[in-house]
């Protein structure tokens, strides 16, 4: 076989290998927005969810950027998210009351934006800002938020929706506002109104223990 033929083999072989390797399925491109999302819930294992009867929820959503509170908002999508939380809690037997009527539970809904690839430290952000959901809001000025451990779940460079349920009933005794349940939605398009509503429904659906009887 002549040298010319040998030389012809090289680019053709490389082209064949490159062509076949380009057939590799990209796992991210093969996901829809909904499939890209994670719904993560955690609970305080010592909490007896049936012992709480009432709850209060704000009518806006906290916006937290890089672990700092940057204001509260109530866009149409935010209001749908809040409505979805209210509907879920009421379907589990909890009764909504005003925050001045000694609710057993407080509910915080937050939009989190992280522009760096740091592990999100949920222990810190509740304690660091002095904004709308300052412990004063719940009538327990000076108290800290007690977060269950291991909430820095995965790295993030994007946006998340967080729903926290706070134990206000036992705060005077424990002198801390325990977060007894947290739901976190991560992934593409989490702040779309449909995505927030369906995401919140998913968070509650995977938390069947979160219920009470009046």
């Amino acid at each position: 076989m002549c040298m010319k033929r040998m030389i012809a083999w090289i680019p053709l072989t490389v082209a064949a290998l490159v062509t076949v390797s380009s057939c590799t399925k990209d796992p991210i491109k093969n996901l829809s927005d909904e499939e890209s999302r994670l719904y993560i819930t955690n609970r305080d294992s010592s909490a007896n969810f049936a012992s709480y009867k009432t709850y209060s929820i704000a009518d806006s959503v906290a916006v937290i950027e890089n672990n700092s509170f940057s204001g509260d908002q109530a866009t149409a999508a935010d209001q749908q998210a809040l409505a979805a939380v209210r509907a879920a809690l009421e379907s589990r037997g909890y009764v909504r009351v005003g925050r001045n009527q000694s609710p057993d539970l407080g509910v915080n809904v937050s939009r989190l934006y992280n522009t760096t690839t740091n592990v999100v430290d949920l222990n810190n952000y509740w304690n660091d800002y002095g904004g709308y959901y300052d412990p004063y809001y719940w009538g327990y000025g000076g108290y800290g938020y007690g977060y269950p451990s291991a909430y820095g779940l995965v790295q993030s460079t994007e946006a998340m929706l967080s729903v926290d349920i706070l134990d206000l009933k036992n705060a005077p005794v424990s002198r801390t506002i325990r977060v007894i349940w947290n739901g976190l939605i991560r992934g593409s398009g989490v702040f779309g109104s449909d995505a927030m509503t369906s995401g919140i429904q998913a968070l509650f659906a995977q938390s069947p223990y979160l219920k009470t009887v009046q």
Partner: protein, 207 residues
């Protein structure tokens, strides 16, 4: 599909390049499309077969029956599982669509034994031993749960037949099956073993 047509055209062109008899001292090039069928613990990550593979070798004929040289290949395994609930080590519950994407590229020293060098259908047995470039990805949703890029061991015994296009010709078609032994550990996976079913062309490279 378009990419498969390009590969086919390339192979036809390669075939047109040569049609000489291979005997002692000649070099043969094999290139084949390969279907990978997971076996063993690879099925814990990917149980679907993969048609996205290629197998290739360049072998020098020591004599009419024995050829030695280099073998390589590429196989892409992918599987996406429906959304389900996972229990995390910290007690959290995570609902996610999980997907695995695994690529292997063995690079092997290979020996091939032709049982009937002059027959119309020539059975062969081959064995390749060497290294394996592995790219392993485990995703939950769009987030990487585990990513490993490693070089591991690979062994590839192979059985098949070579059918020359004309009597005495050294261009022909090869069809066969191989077992790809590939130790690797990640999560529930302890190996990337898979059976390869391959078909393609064998062509003389140098004489």
């Amino acid at each position: 599909m378009k990419q498969h047509k390009i590969v086919l055209l390339l192979l036809v062109f390669l075939f047109a390049l040569g049609a000489q008899a291979q005997r002692k001292g000649s070099t043969q090039f094999d290139i084949q499309l390969n279907a990978g069928l997971p076996v063993g613990s690879l099925k814990n990550a990917v149980s679907d077969h993969s048609l996205r593979g290629i197998k290739a070798s360049v072998l020098y004929a020591v004599d009419d029956q024995l050829a030695i040289g280099l073998g390589t290949g590429f196989q892409d395994f992918y599987q996406k599982y429906p959304r389900q609930l996972y229990k995390l080590s910290d007690g959290s519950d995570m609902s996610a669509v999980r997907s695995f994407s695994i690529q292997v590229i063995p690079i092997l020293a290979e020996a091939k034994w032709n049982f009937s060098p002059d027959a119309a259908v020539r059975p062969y047995a081959a064995l390749g031993l060497g290294g394996n470039l592995i790219n392993y990805n485990d995703y939950v949703g769009e987030f990487s749960l585990d990513q490993k890029t490693k070089i591991g061991f690979a062994a590839r015994p192979d059985l098949g037949v070579y059918i020359p296009f004309r009597k005495g010709g050294e261009s022909g078609m090869t069809v066969g099956a191989s077992f790809n032994f590939m130790p690797f550990t990640a999560g529930d996976v302890t190996n990337l073993n898979h059976v390869g079913i391959h078909a393609g062309f064998s062509l003389p490279l140098r004489k």
